[in-house]
């Protein structure tokens, strides 16, 4: 039971996008459609779970002064792996996400969880934390992407439900900020009620 706490915390209490407000760069840039947001979230989740596990394994043998370079090397290796795998099996998605896949290396969620969680917890707990945070991030990105796609392009998961153009501003950069802001308000409102 207590272990599942870590999983749930990542999704709601420590939701990386709506509560911790980490990793804003890919959040704003890749959520032009629900599919893109989901792909980005899944790629980040894969990296996060692997790096969390490996770092929690390695933490006892890494000297304090070189821990950040070590973490970054581990994270970069996993990102490169994910990049190869996506290029091979989901080339279309790889192309739309483009530069944001290699940029997962510098996503503060991944390094943040390594530094704040993985190096103090066991492998299992770190894996659960990675899954939780990853799911939280994926859900957030998919929601933002879905709202932007529905309003801006009148389609959902690439299925067009009306032939006209929609409010294009939501697909463009300003729309990302608007949708993120409103969703953050709604999320925290609901979350606040539950806690009270």
């Amino acid at each position: 039971m207590s272990k599942f706490k870590y999983l749930l915390e990542g999704i709601v209490k420590n939701n990386p996008t709506f509560v911790l407000v980490l990793g804003m760069c890919p959040t704003l840039a890749t959520t032009t459609s629900a599919m893109n947001g989901m792909g980005m979230g899944a790629a980040t989740m894969a990296v996060l779970i692997c790096s969390n596990m490996v770092i929690s394994l390695l933490a006892p043998v890494i000297p304090d002064k070189v821990r950040i370079p070590c973490y970054i090397v581990v994270i970069a290796a996993f990102v490169t792996v994910v990049q190869f795998v996506m290029q091979a099996f989901t080339p279309a998605l790889y192309e739309t996400l483009g530069i944001f896949i290699p940029l997962i290396v510098v996503n503060c969620i991944v390094l943040g969880r390594a530094e704040a969680f993985a190096n103090k917890h066991s492998v299992l707990e770190s894996a659960l934390d990675g899954i939780g945070i990853g799911i939280g991030f994926t859900i957030a990105l998919t929601c933002i992407g879905l709202v932007r796609e529905v309003l801006g392009n009148l389609s959902a998961f690439d299925h067009k439900f009306a032939s006209s153009d929609g409010m294009l501003v939501f697909v463009l950069a300003p729309g990302a900020f608007l949708v993120l802001g409103y969703l953050m308000v709604i999320f925290n409102k609901i979350k606040g009620k539950k806690n009270a």
Binding site: K65, F84, A88
Partner: protein, 195 residues
Amino acid sequence: MAIKSSLRNMALVLTLVCLGASAAVAVIYAVTKDPIEIAKAEKTNKAIKQVVPAFDNNPSEEILNVPADASNPKETNKVYVAKKGGEVVGYAVESTTTKGFGGAFTIMVGFTPNGEVYNTSVISHSETPGLGAKITDGQSHFITQWNGKNLVDGSVKIAVTKDGGDIDAITASTITSRAYCDAMEIAANVFNNIK
């Protein structure tokens, strides 16, 4: 709980972590190398099939490297030759422009042997979703208007109507439409240099 940060420890651990990481990346690279090649080739083949009339050879094996600008023969574009029963039925020209709104984009342009456009297809782009990205819709008027136009006999001015040309631009995507014209122009120049 972490071990002491002595110089020896730090150097040792960093070296080992880097070795381990590069070994892992190398293994995955070796495993995914072939699928990546296949995925890329499939994409090119699909694009070729779309833009030239039916053929029975393998255009990916009959590639000409033709310069767009005859005075600069170093920069060449790939031209895939489609043949049926030994006769050339079309040329698929890969053409890249850097004038897109989101950076470079690459299209495949199919020509019949006399210079008419058979069909075109977008290979890769980074245009804005909902705006410039509409160029990927192969059924749209913007894409189909090219079909049947002869780009090499001078009957068509390759530019959007706003710039005095013969091509209708996509609404709200003038830059993308202009870039598309630019890529078509490059493709037409390449076609002229084939023979």
